[in-house]
């Protein structure tokens, strides 16, 4: 078995420590738009990264293959590629395979080969297991057992493009201007204890879930030990990996909605819980009692996305920044307000949510302009 911590955490520290810029934008009306704006926005926060990691997630990307699992796989050698392709042919029905188009970019040196595969799972292949669980297991197999290969993303109608470089350089390299999606997230990375490895850049993905994250989780040790009890092996030693697994456990396996998940990862203080109505108190108290080991303590802001939904929130005392902007049906989440203003100068609204408060953009509940009364009479549209 290959040791991912060797590539992602070469010094064997407790975990990879990094800080970042993050940006997300979603058209809650479901209209697809190109990546031009998000590249400009994340580039505007250039100084929050150090060129050792940048990446993007795009949803609504492959309408022609909307029902197939789109695997984006990175290869460091021809052997890795042939081994993975043999594995794929054995475990999936392959509809289409191609190299992910790139262009020479001066800043990107020694890039790995990246291919994409559109795959289906035959019922007899997953043997009673749900297709999603089957795919998760296969991704883990490639990532932990096959040398020189790593799955960037494995969801339907979406993909992750990432690598070592500033995010705008990664965007140029992968020619993101040619793609469209209704939801984009982006990440610029500032790791302090890894020389940078393409697989370690954000967004972190499993199925159609992606996480971009800015922070350092001081509770990492217990979060990881808790998840180990449920069979999650944190091979990469990153906070982001812990968050992704926590979300997978809570949302997919324990069927909890995202608002509840936010209350587990960034719970209210006990004293605040006591001020809630009795039934809500009981819920919030029970969540902390049962899932206390998943409380993400320490500074973080995360943007989680999956099909139809984008969620952002900070730790409960907001030790890392998050600004929200709204323009019509478009929701922006960003480390800095300036990045939002750059791509949308005439926002309807912009605000900083309180610590732990989840901001949710959803196709099911598109944003609609609201009339708000202001002092001195009259209404404004926001």
């Amino acid at each position: 078995m290959k040791d991912l911590s060797k590539v992602n955490n070469p010094y064997g520290d407790d975990k990879v420590i990094d800080a970042c810029s993050i940006f997300g934008m979603m058209d809650t009306a479901g209209r697809r738009f190109p990546g031009k704006d998000i590249v400009r926005a994340i580039a505007n926060m250039h100084i929050r990264g150090n060129g050792l990691g940048g990446g993007f997630a795009v949803y609504g990307l492959y309408p022609q293959y909307a029902d197939q699992y789109a695997f984006h796989i990175m290869y460091l050698s021809r052997e890795g590629k042939s081994e993975v392709e043999a594995f794929i042919k054995q475990r999936f029905r392959l509809l289409h395979a191609e190299e992910v188009p790139t262009q020479p970019t001066p800043a990107i040196v020694n890039p790995p080969l990246v291919w994409r595969y559109f795959l289906e799972v035959e019922p007899q292949q997953c043997d009673g297991q749900s297709q999603d669980n089957y795919v998760v297991d296969r991704v883990m197999e490639v990532n932990t057992k096959i040398e020189d290969a790593f799955v960037f993303s494995s969801g339907k109608d979406m993909a992750v493009f990432k690598g070592v470089g500033y995010p705008e350089e990664i965007a140029e390299y992968f020619r993101l201007e040619q793609y469209e999606g209704y939801l984009w997230t982006a990440h610029g990375r500032f790791p302090t204890n890894t020389p940078g490895w393409w697989g370690g850049a954000h967004p972190f993905n499993i199925l159609d879930w992606t996480v971009v994250h800015n922070g350092e989780i001081s509770s990492y040790g217990i979060n990881r030990r808790y998840l180990e009890q449920f069979g999650y092996h944190c091979a990469m030693h990153t906070d982001t990996e812990v968050i992704a697994y926590a979300i997978d456990l809570l949302m997919r396996r324990h069927s909890l909605p995202i608002e509840i998940v936010a209350k587990i990862l960034a719970p209210s203080f006990w004293s605040a819980i006591e001020r809630r109505p009795p039934a809500e108190q009981e819920l919030l108290r029970t969540l902390r009692q049962v899932y206390g080991s998943l409380l993400l303590n320490g500074p973080f802001t995360i943007i989680i996305a999956h099909h139809g939904e984008m969620i952002g929130f900070t730790d409960r005392i907001r030790l890392r920044p998050l600004t929200v902007g709204v323009k019509g049906p478009v929701l922006y989440l960003s480390s800095e307000e300036s990045a939002i203003r750059l791509v949308c100068p005439d926002l309807d609204r912009a605000w900083i949510p309180t610590g732990g408060e989840p901001i949710v953009g959803s196709l099911e509940r598109p944003l609609v302009p609201q009339e708000v009364e202001v002092a001195g009479g009259g209404n404004i549209r926001c």
Partner: protein, 501 residues
């Protein structure tokens, strides 16, 4: 028989300062000081001094100094003075040597080889004077997951009984009869004020303390002393005592002299009779028997209280603890090598059991490997000295700790190890009415509550320094610990990395 036992201490009285007031004579419970009326002079018999320093503290003119008798035998690492004297005592009595308090030998104290982490640059430390810092802990069985309905809040999961403590430090089991009623009252009131729990030990609960029941853990031990429906009903938690760190595998023996009228009423035994706790619980010869007692107590309390099971930390603690959780224990208590006692055979106290740090680490690891760590809270005891030890215990995986010796020190104990004599000059480990009066429960409760407050404040500082603002984020978070001066096997068992790595 002429004793060959030399005095342990030298009593020095400064004649310039002594005013012959006889306070020392009255304070000493071991008759070290006496008044010679003929000479109008206070004198001492150093051979009976136990070094409790009661007289030193209470002498109004600071005329007294107690020093260790150097006992300069020819140096010998094997035949140390203590070894020699134990043999002398046995040669003169032919009996089992008894002692009090915890193991005082030089076994490695692992707390002193573990250091804590703090935040620098990459994440901020949190100032507990300016930001909320949460120490609240819920003890009790937790399910694997929470289920909810679609409509908020819509909680479907019903939890087993949970007990909230405001600070993860509770008072360890010390039985009435061993300690005085004033000690019990001090503990009960301090626990109530601090929002934590105290433990009755195995000697029952005096009816005048029923009012503190909400903060009381009642014990059911092998002697079943004082166990009746009301006793169970008033409590918050019921604890089955299997063993004790100071004397694993050994029962209890409260001498008849200590069984006063009040003790007799509380323990439900005749006045003046020895209270003998059998070594095992005679209805528990195996794990399935434990399950029966656990569920008998759950039935008796109508599933309203967590049931705790306490064992001494021994070689197979991890496997035993796993069995206890599977037998239905909601809380498991591990009492380590340095756990104290009111009376135990010295040879047992000093040689049986394992360090609590090792037991805790291996139990927490095992329960996680088996995926049942959430099914019981883990409480440890035995030698916890300060909030640093508490923080390290939490990081190793404990939900909370018990303190016994530290609490008694707060009440005046100086660890003279004479608990088994029933003559405690500080009025702690005695039922002699004249001596028990020395501990005023108003003051005792204040001193104990102050101690808990100090430790809470320090724990908040420790957490804040790590950039953590809730205790549950430190619990089991061994990445916040590093080892110093430990070998690879020790580090592996503790699940801790070496400092610098």
């Amino acid at each position: 028989m002429k004793t060959y036992l030399p005095p342990k201490f030298i009593v020095e009285r400064d004649p310039e300062r002594c005013i012959q007031c006889q306070v020392c004579v009255n304070q000493c419970a071991f008759d070290t000081h006496y008044y010679d009326a003929e000479d109008d002079e206070v004198r001492s018999r150093p051979d009976s001094c136990v070094g409790c320093h009661r007289c030193v503290l209470f002498c109004p003119t600071q005329a007294l100094t107690i020093r260790r008798n150097p006992l300069d035998y020819r140096e010998n690492y094997n035949w140390r003075p203590e070894v020699i004297e134990d043999i002398i005592k046995q040669a003169e009595t032919g009996g089992v040597l008894l002692t009090g308090m915890g193991n005082d030998k030089g076994y490695r104290i692992y707390w002193d080889h573990l250091v804590l982490n703090a935040s620098q640059v990459t994440n901020p430390s949190i100032d507990p004077l300016r930001e909320p810092m949460e120490l609240a802990t819920y003890l009790g069985r937790k399910p694997d997951r929470v289920e909810i309905d679609r409509d908020y809040p819509g909680l479907k999961t019903e939890l087993a009984p949970q007990v909230r403590i405001e600070v993860p430090v509770m008072f360890a089991a010390m039985s009435y009869g061993a300690v005085s009623i004033n000690v019990h009252e001090s503990l009960a009131r301090a626990a109530t004020e601090a929002g934590t729990l105290w433990n009755t030990g195995e000697g029952g609960l005096h009816p005048k303390l029923y009012e503190y029941g909400n903060n009381t853990i009642v014990q059911v031990a092998s002697g079943r002393f004082g166990v009746h429906p009301k006793y169970l009903d008033v409590s918050r938690v019921v604890e089955i005592k299997i063993g004790q760190g100071a004397k694993p595998g050994i029962g209890g023996h409260l001498p008849g002299e200590k069984v006063s009228a009040e003790v007799s009423m509380t323990r439900m035994i005749p006045t003046g009779t020895d209270a003998l706790s059998p070594a095992p619980q005679h209805d528990i010869y195996s794990i399935e028997d434990l399950a029966q007692l656990v569920y008998a107590l759950k039935e008796a309390t109508n599933y309203t209280k967590p049931i705790s099971v306490k064992i001494a930390a021994v070689h197979n603690s991890a496997a035993i603890a796993s069995g206890m959780v599977r037998a239905g224990a909601d809380i498991i208590v591990l009492d380590g090598l340095r756990g104290a006692t009111g009376a135990a055979p010295k040879i047992i106290r000093d040689n049986v059991g394992i360090p609590i740090e090792m037991a805790l680490a291996s139990v927490d690891t095992r329960l996680r490997q088996e995926g049942i760590r959430n099914q019981a809270s883990v409480v440890i005891s035995g030698g916890i000295r300060n909030s640093g030890d508490v923080a390290k215990a939490i990081a190793l995986g404990a939900d909370a700790v018990y303190i016994g010796t530290a609490a008694l020190i707060a009440l005046g104990c100086t660890l003279c190890q004479q608990c088994h004599t029933g003559k405690c000059a500080w009025g702690i480990c005695t039922t002699d009415l004249a001596l028990t009066k020395r501990l005023n429960p108003d003051i005792g409760a204040r001193r104990l509550a102050n101690l808990l407050r100090s430790w809470s404040l320090e724990l908040k500082d420790i957490l804040g320094g790590m950039g953590i603002n809730a205790l549950e984020s430190l619990r089991g978070n061994r990445l916040h610990l590093r080892g110093v001066g430990l070998n690879e096997t020790e580090l592996e068992i503790l699940g801790v990395r070496m400092a610098g790595s």
